[in-house]
Symmetry: C2
Subunit: 120 residues, 2 copies
Protein backbone atom coordinates (compact mmCIF):
# COMPACT_ATOMS: atom_id res chain seq x y z
CA UNK A 1 0.00 0.00 0.00
CA UNK A 2 1.19 3.48 -0.66
CA UNK A 3 0.99 6.32 1.76
CA UNK A 4 -2.41 7.35 3.01
CA UNK A 5 -4.17 9.45 0.44
CA UNK A 6 -3.18 13.07 0.63
CA UNK A 7 -6.83 13.93 0.55
CA UNK A 8 -7.55 12.00 3.70
CA UNK A 9 -6.92 14.60 6.35
CA UNK A 10 -5.33 17.89 7.28
CA UNK A 11 -2.15 16.20 8.47
CA UNK A 12 -1.50 14.88 5.02
CA UNK A 13 -2.61 18.02 3.28
CA UNK A 14 -0.11 20.21 5.11
CA UNK A 15 2.71 17.76 4.59
CA UNK A 16 3.20 19.39 1.21
CA UNK A 17 5.30 22.56 1.38
CA UNK A 18 3.55 24.22 -1.52
CA UNK A 19 0.20 23.65 0.06
CA UNK A 20 1.45 25.21 3.23
CA UNK A 21 2.52 28.22 1.23
CA UNK A 22 -0.89 28.46 -0.35
CA UNK A 23 -2.52 28.45 3.06
CA UNK A 24 -0.19 31.16 4.26
CA UNK A 25 -1.01 33.32 1.28
CA UNK A 26 -4.69 32.85 1.86
CA UNK A 27 -4.37 34.36 5.29
CA UNK A 28 -4.27 37.63 3.40
CA UNK A 29 -7.75 37.03 2.09
CA UNK A 30 -9.46 35.15 -0.69
CA UNK A 31 -7.71 34.94 -4.01
CA UNK A 32 -8.10 33.56 -7.51
CA UNK A 33 -6.09 30.59 -8.68
CA UNK A 34 -3.88 32.40 -11.14
CA UNK A 35 -2.84 34.88 -8.50
CA UNK A 36 -1.69 32.13 -6.20
CA UNK A 37 0.08 30.29 -8.97
CA UNK A 38 1.98 33.39 -9.99
CA UNK A 39 2.95 34.34 -6.45
CA UNK A 40 4.22 30.87 -5.72
CA UNK A 41 5.98 30.34 -9.01
CA UNK A 42 3.98 27.31 -10.00
CA UNK A 43 1.86 26.53 -13.00
CA UNK A 44 -1.86 27.09 -12.92
CA UNK A 45 -2.68 23.38 -13.10
CA UNK A 46 -0.39 22.73 -10.19
CA UNK A 47 -2.11 25.36 -8.14
CA UNK A 48 -5.50 23.96 -9.07
CA UNK A 49 -4.47 20.51 -8.01
CA UNK A 50 -3.17 21.62 -4.66
CA UNK A 51 -6.26 23.70 -4.11
CA UNK A 52 -8.38 20.72 -4.86
CA UNK A 53 -6.65 18.73 -2.18
CA UNK A 54 -7.01 21.55 0.28
CA UNK A 55 -10.66 21.81 -0.57
CA UNK A 56 -11.23 18.13 -0.17
CA UNK A 57 -9.91 18.18 3.36
CA UNK A 58 -11.86 21.33 4.03
CA UNK A 59 -9.01 23.74 4.53
CA UNK A 60 -10.20 26.13 1.85
CA UNK A 61 -13.51 27.11 0.41
CA UNK A 62 -14.30 28.27 -3.07
CA UNK A 63 -16.63 30.94 -4.26
CA UNK A 64 -17.39 31.64 -7.87
CA UNK A 65 -16.87 35.25 -8.84
CA UNK A 66 -17.53 35.70 -12.50
CA UNK A 67 -14.87 34.00 -14.52
CA UNK A 68 -12.78 33.56 -11.45
CA UNK A 69 -13.00 31.25 -8.50
CA UNK A 70 -11.94 32.81 -5.27
CA UNK A 71 -10.34 30.50 -2.75
CA UNK A 72 -10.65 31.36 0.88
CA UNK A 73 -8.98 29.97 3.94
CA UNK A 74 -11.02 27.82 6.27
CA UNK A 75 -8.61 27.14 9.05
CA UNK A 76 -10.94 25.20 11.28
CA UNK A 77 -9.47 21.96 10.05
CA UNK A 78 -6.11 22.99 11.43
CA UNK A 79 -7.39 23.11 14.93
CA UNK A 80 -7.19 19.36 15.57
CA UNK A 81 -3.67 19.38 14.23
CA UNK A 82 -2.70 22.17 16.54
CA UNK A 83 -4.20 20.34 19.45
CA UNK A 84 -2.51 17.08 18.64
CA UNK A 85 0.88 18.70 18.33
CA UNK A 86 0.16 20.79 21.39
CA UNK A 87 -0.08 17.58 23.34
CA UNK A 88 3.69 17.42 23.09
CA UNK A 89 4.38 20.92 24.23
CA UNK A 90 5.43 19.93 27.68
CA UNK A 91 7.91 17.51 26.20
CA UNK A 92 9.80 19.91 24.06
CA UNK A 93 9.92 22.40 26.89
CA UNK A 94 11.33 19.68 29.05
CA UNK A 95 14.05 18.91 26.58
CA UNK A 96 15.27 22.42 27.00
CA UNK A 97 16.27 21.99 30.60
CA UNK A 98 17.53 18.46 30.47
CA UNK A 99 21.16 18.43 29.59
CA UNK A 100 20.67 14.74 29.82
CA UNK A 101 19.59 14.45 26.33
CA UNK A 102 22.50 16.38 25.00
CA UNK A 103 24.88 14.16 26.86
CA UNK A 104 23.24 11.05 25.52
CA UNK A 105 23.51 12.50 22.07
CA UNK A 106 27.22 12.67 22.44
CA UNK A 107 27.55 9.30 24.03
CA UNK A 108 25.61 7.73 21.24
CA UNK A 109 27.48 9.49 18.51
CA UNK A 110 30.62 8.11 20.01
CA UNK A 111 29.28 4.61 20.31
CA UNK A 112 27.94 4.50 16.82
CA UNK A 113 31.02 5.80 15.08
CA UNK A 114 32.45 9.15 14.05
CA UNK A 115 30.18 10.00 11.12
CA UNK A 116 26.78 8.88 12.34
CA UNK A 117 24.76 6.47 10.32
CA UNK A 118 21.61 8.25 11.31
CA UNK A 119 20.60 9.33 7.88
CA UNK A 120 19.60 6.85 5.24
Amino acid sequence: MARAATTSDAFNAIAEPQRREILVLLRGGERPVTDLARDLGMTQPQASKHLRVLREVGLVQVRGAGKQRLYDLDARGLRPVHEWVGGFERFWSESFDRLDEYVQDLKQATQEGPHDGDDQ
Copy 2:
Protein backbone atom coordinates in the same frame (compact mmCIF):
# COMPACT_ATOMS: atom_id res chain seq x y z
CA MET B 1 8.25 13.53 -8.96
CA ALA B 2 6.52 11.81 -6.12
CA ARG B 3 5.68 13.40 -2.86
CA ALA B 4 8.47 14.83 -0.80
CA ALA B 5 10.24 12.09 1.04
CA THR B 6 8.56 11.15 4.26
CA THR B 7 11.90 11.40 5.90
CA SER B 8 12.33 15.01 4.95
CA ASP B 9 10.69 16.77 7.85
CA ALA B 10 8.40 16.52 10.82
CA PHE B 11 5.37 17.56 8.80
CA ASN B 12 5.73 14.52 6.62
CA ALA B 13 6.65 12.24 9.45
CA ILE B 14 3.49 12.95 11.38
CA ALA B 15 1.31 12.61 8.31
CA GLU B 16 1.31 8.90 9.02
CA PRO B 17 -1.29 7.86 11.59
CA GLN B 18 0.77 4.98 12.92
CA ARG B 19 3.73 7.20 13.46
CA ARG B 20 1.55 9.59 15.37
CA GLU B 21 0.46 6.72 17.55
CA ILE B 22 4.04 5.77 18.18
CA LEU B 23 4.84 9.29 19.29
CA VAL B 24 1.87 9.31 21.61
CA LEU B 25 2.95 6.06 23.18
CA LEU B 26 6.44 7.39 23.68
CA ARG B 27 5.10 10.18 25.82
CA GLY B 28 4.86 7.51 28.46
CA GLY B 29 8.60 7.04 28.40
CA GLU B 30 11.17 5.20 26.37
CA ARG B 31 10.29 1.79 25.04
CA PRO B 32 11.69 -1.08 23.03
CA VAL B 33 10.51 -1.78 19.50
CA THR B 34 8.66 -4.98 20.21
CA ASP B 35 6.65 -3.30 22.90
CA LEU B 36 5.50 -0.61 20.56
CA ALA B 37 4.74 -3.06 17.80
CA ARG B 38 2.60 -5.16 20.09
CA ASP B 39 0.73 -2.23 21.56
CA LEU B 40 -0.05 -0.86 18.16
CA GLY B 41 -0.92 -4.13 16.54
CA MET B 42 1.73 -3.96 13.90
CA THR B 43 4.57 -6.22 12.93
CA GLN B 44 8.02 -5.63 14.31
CA PRO B 45 9.52 -4.70 10.94
CA GLN B 46 6.76 -2.16 10.46
CA ALA B 47 7.49 -0.60 13.79
CA SER B 48 11.19 -0.52 13.03
CA LYS B 49 10.59 1.19 9.75
CA HIS B 50 8.39 3.85 11.24
CA LEU B 51 10.84 4.37 14.03
CA ARG B 52 13.56 4.82 11.51
CA VAL B 53 11.65 7.58 9.81
CA LEU B 54 10.95 9.23 13.12
CA ARG B 55 14.60 9.00 13.99
CA GLU B 56 15.69 10.43 10.70
CA VAL B 57 13.63 13.53 11.23
CA GLY B 58 14.80 13.70 14.80
CA LEU B 59 11.54 13.04 16.57
CA VAL B 60 12.87 10.09 18.50
CA GLN B 61 16.21 9.04 19.86
CA VAL B 62 17.56 5.58 20.39
CA ARG B 63 19.58 4.19 23.18
CA GLY B 64 21.01 0.74 23.27
CA ALA B 65 20.06 -1.19 26.38
CA GLY B 66 21.44 -4.66 26.20
CA LYS B 67 19.73 -6.58 23.49
CA GLN B 68 17.08 -3.97 23.24
CA ARG B 69 17.02 -0.55 21.74
CA LEU B 70 14.98 1.92 23.70
CA TYR B 71 13.29 4.61 21.68
CA ASP B 72 12.61 7.88 23.37
CA LEU B 73 10.58 10.85 22.34
CA ASP B 74 12.39 13.99 21.28
CA ALA B 75 9.57 16.39 20.71
CA ARG B 76 11.65 19.40 19.86
CA GLY B 77 11.07 18.82 16.19
CA LEU B 78 7.36 19.29 16.73
CA ARG B 79 7.80 22.79 17.90
CA PRO B 80 8.10 24.34 14.44
CA VAL B 81 5.02 22.44 13.40
CA HIS B 82 3.11 23.74 16.36
CA GLU B 83 4.21 27.24 15.59
CA TRP B 84 3.32 27.05 11.96
CA VAL B 85 -0.14 25.75 12.66
CA GLY B 86 -0.48 28.24 15.49
CA GLY B 87 -0.11 30.96 12.92
CA PHE B 88 -3.65 30.14 11.89
CA GLU B 89 -5.16 30.20 15.31
CA ARG B 90 -6.75 33.56 14.90
CA PHE B 91 -8.40 32.36 11.72
CA TRP B 92 -10.16 29.39 13.13
CA SER B 93 -11.28 31.44 16.09
CA GLU B 94 -12.60 33.99 13.67
CA SER B 95 -14.61 31.41 11.84
CA PHE B 96 -16.44 30.81 15.04
CA ASP B 97 -17.94 34.26 15.22
CA ARG B 98 -18.47 34.96 11.58
CA LEU B 99 -21.82 33.68 10.54
CA ASP B 100 -20.71 34.87 7.20
CA GLU B 101 -18.95 31.73 6.39
CA TYR B 102 -21.86 29.59 7.38
CA VAL B 103 -24.14 31.60 5.17
CA GLN B 104 -21.78 31.26 2.25
CA ASP B 105 -21.64 27.57 2.88
CA LEU B 106 -25.35 27.36 2.38
CA LYS B 107 -25.41 29.66 -0.59
CA GLN B 108 -22.77 27.60 -2.29
CA ALA B 109 -24.39 24.30 -1.51
CA THR B 110 -27.52 25.65 -3.13
CA GLN B 111 -25.71 26.91 -6.18
CA GLU B 112 -23.77 23.77 -6.71
CA GLY B 113 -26.65 21.35 -6.37
CA PRO B 114 -28.34 19.38 -3.60
CA HIS B 115 -25.71 16.71 -3.02
CA ASP B 116 -22.45 18.58 -3.15
CA GLY B 117 -19.84 17.53 -5.66
CA ASP B 118 -17.12 18.58 -3.31
CA ASP B 119 -15.48 15.25 -2.93
CA GLN B 120 -13.80 13.58 -5.82
